[in-house]
Amino acid sequence: MSTEKKQAEQIKEISGVNPLKCMKCGKCSASCPSYNEMDIKPHQFVSYVQNEDIESLVNSKSLWKCLSCFACVERCPRDVKPGKLIDAARQIVVRQKGQDYLLADEIPELLDPDVPQQLLVSAFRRYRR
């Protein structure tokens, strides 16, 4: 199995998403609050995984622009959940980086007293895995 294929399989496995279920309606992109910031749009994520182009996904800006608000997951009529794919791609990045990710111990040093708790949790969710 090629690396690309392996990675694509890995993403599918982590996210539990079957990209073949997508009917390309675009409701995810229509729902996305970060749409304009993204280079690869939410609905495209699905076809990237389908086409096994994980490299592009991993290097995209979108990966870190997604707020994990899960609007796309909620509204997707086909139960495809693009948000989960993005999450899974992040996981791949984290795994590639090995141990080099945010640890709980590091937080106090970084902590700005004005940072809202919510952001902290969301950041942790994004960078901790």
Binding site: M23, A30, K41
Partner: protein, 662 residues
């Protein structure tokens, strides 16, 4: 001992490519009772059948096993073939070595082994087969149509024209159904009422048609050719024979706060009402929930103003029991509830409406007298957004997995009509795909785009947000231009999915007709028997079977009528001989079998039996073979094994079990 012939079919290469058919035939000769075995290219062909017939004559065969495709496919073919050779048709058993063997296994040795076992099981069974003779039952020459929409009306008219009596049962106060709510029809844009009303009138006037409106089917018993149906005629509180349809009662009625069902709740109606002006019969009903007289005992205004003296507050529900030979289901559809689609703000804003509501708004007899206006403030809209596939093509539990089929076309129609009548209104349609298979359909859609300037955007809407300025903020996506679209609209129209009428479940249970996971009635065969239910004598007309537009509905309605006529034209029917029967020497008369019989086919009688010389009067179960459908529920509940099923007897099934396990 039977003299059995085994015939192994190659089915071209369908079977022969994976099953060693020669080997199966050779092994068959080893089985007890088998005196003849052969294989042939196509057993179901003329020549194949002839070989069976020849063998029966030459070798005096008493039982036949055909190893071929599914018995659901050709069991009848082979039964008829052996009958022509003088053998009882029920002496045939089919071993399914195609669907259950050659098509699912690749390894030849393995598939052959399995085919041999399936053949053995069939031989073991046929060894115990006995000749069966179908009984006869009469056909009541009257049909029942459940549902008085365009499907029901058309079916009833066609059956009636063929000379048979038909009754239509309609739940609402008038026939007409969904089509009567529609303003214009695609792709011709004729006025729906203009083409429907004449049919309604014709049905009402037809000497062979009886219409029961404001009525529901309460109970169904019996079987093909001889159904007995109880129809509940709900109390109308108005004497149909006296009412002249003048309408004064409706004008004077002081209770006018009930949302109009016909206008989809967009305006109100009186407590005594006819749903719409062209209603048939043109006799109002009193909605007892809303009527002041019924709620408080005071009022009685309608009775005072009725010159014909037709108001009858004491009227009671009436049960009409009638016999029918055939039943056609035409229960139609409704729009799905949109409460799970909160992102489209349907429940938050009056200006987010469904397409059917738009039909009423566009209709001259509707709540706005045909003027396009916002339901919130009555202002004419400038920006309209249509959202497609709301609840259709969904794989989650919020919507339906199927395509509702009619939305693309009616949305094009709406867009076109609006642009035609109100050229200053901008119309945007968000779509996933535009599906236009149908005569002149795509041309119609292209006209909306090319001639009327409707803005079609490929992409879905993610959210509709009601604004404080009364407008609706629509956030969608344009997948072609790769940009998110945020747009202010005055009205949003949702193409909500259609679903079968929720009552159909109850009706299907009464009819013992099967229903699919989406509550559409199942057809007997998806391609070859699309208007028949698997339950004999039950036919399907219109959307109750699957989404359809009007022309399709009308043609299916005609087809269902033809099938019903075909049944009614027969004087007698052959009944299935595979029915239960009780061994009177074993029967305890305990009633357990009657308790589980879904057809009420079992009764008891005190009968003198001769039990090996001992004469005794015993309570014995009797099966009415015309009512028995052969399910076998009784056979298992019977503790003594007195009840057995012909064609699937205890010993036959056990013989199959033994043959498979040996």
């Amino acid at each position: 001992m039977q003299r059995i012939g085994v015939f192994v079919c190659h089915c071209g290469s369908n079977i022969a490519a994976t099953v060693d058919v020669k080997k199966v035939a050779e092994m068959a000769l080893m089985e007890p009772g088998v005196v003849h075995a052969e294989d042939y290219q196509y057993m179901c062909s003329e020549a194949g059948q002839a070989r069976i017939q020849e063998a029966i004559k030459e070798k005096n065969l008493t039982g036949i096993v055909v190893c071929s495709c599914s018995p659901r496919m050709h069991e009848n073919t082979f039964r008829k073939a052996v009958e022509r050779a003088g053998l009882n048709p029920y002496m045939v058993e089919v071993a399914n070595i195609r669907e259950h063997c050659s098509w699912i296994h690749k390894d030849i040795e393995e598939a052959t082994k399995k085919a041999v076992i399936l053949m053995r099981a069939a031989v073991a069974k046929v060894n115990l087969n006995t000749p069966l003779k179908p009984g006869e039952s009469r056909v009541t020459k009257r049909a029942l149509v459940i549902g008085g929409g365009i499907a029901g009306i058309q079916t009833a008219l066609d059956i009636a024209d063929a000379g048979y009596k038909v009754d239509i049962v309609e739940k609402t106060p008038s026939i007409g159904g969904r089509m009567s709510q529609v303003d214009k029809t695609f792709p011709t844009l004729d006025c729906s009422a203009c083409i429907l009303t004449p049919k309604m009138v014709e049905a009402n006037a037809h000497e062979n048609i009886t219409i029961y409106t404001y009525s529901e089917v309460e109970n169904v018993s019996g079987f093909v050719g001889d159904f007995t149906v109880d129809i509940r005629k709900k109390a109308r509180s108005v004497d149909m024979t006296k009412c002249t349809g003048c309408g004064v009662c409706q004008e004077k009625c002081p209770s006018k706060k009930t949302p109009s069902e016909f206008n989809r709740g967009l305006n109100n109606r009186s407590a005594i009402y006819t749903p719409f002006a062209q209603a048939i019969p043109n006799v109002p009903v009193i909605d007892r929930e809303a009527c002041i007289k019924f709620k408080t005992g005071k009022c009685g205004l309608c009775s005072k103003v009725c010159q014909a003296g037709a108001i009858d507050y004491d009227q009671k529900d009436e049960i009409i029991t009638e016999k029918y030979g055939a039943i056609v289901v035409a229960t139609g559809f409704d729009m799905i509830k949109l409460d799970k689609y909160d992102e489209y703000a349907y429940s938050q804003s009056k200006d987010v409406i469904t397409s059917l509501e738009l039909e009423r708004i566009m209709n001259a007899a509707g709540p706005t007298k045909g003027h396009l206006e916002r339901m919130s403030d009555g202002k004419p809209p400038k920006e309209m957004v249509f959202i497609q596939c709301v609840g259709s093509r969904c794989s989650d539990d919020r919507g339906k997995s199927y395509c509702s089929k009619i939305c693309c076309m009616y949305t094009a129609k709406h867009a076109m009509l609006i642009r035609d009548k109100y050229p200053d209104v901008n119309v945007t349609v968000f779509y996933i795909d535009v599906r236009t298979p149908g005569k002149n359909f795509d041309e119609f859609y292209r006209r909306a785009v090319e001639d009327y300037g409707v803005n079609y955007i490929k992409g879905q809407v993610g959210k509709v947000i009601p604004q404080s300025n009364g407008k609706l903020l629509v956030r969608g996506v344009d997948l072609i231009d790769q940009k998110q679209i945020v747009k202010e609209a005055d009205m949003v129209v949702l193409a909500a999915a259609i679903e079968p009428n929720p009552d159909v479940r109850k009706i299907a249970t009464m009819l013992t007709a099967s229903i699919d996971t989406n509550n559409f009635l199942t057809e007997a065969h998806a391609k070859l028997r699309p208007v028949e239910s698997p339950t004999a004598g039950i036919f399907l007309s219109g959307v109750c079977q699957g989404p359809k537009d009007i022309p399709e509905t009308v043609s299916q309605a005609g087809a269902a009528a033809v099938k019903a006529i075909g049944l009614l034209a027969k004087d007698k029917l052959m009944t299935n001989p595979c029915t239960a029967h009780s061994d009177e020497l074993l029967c305890n008369g305990c009633s357990n079998c009657a308790n589980v019989c879904p057809y009420g086919a079992i009764s008891y009688e005190d009968k003198e039996v001769n039990d090996h010389g001992k004469r005794e009067v015993r309570r014995i179960a009797q099966v009415n073979s015309a009512l028995c459908q052969g399910c076998g529920a009784c056979t298992v509940t019977c503790p003594s094994g007195a009840m057995d099923l012909q064609g699937f007897s205890n010993r036959q099934i056990l013989a199959e079990v033994d043959a498979i396990c040996r």
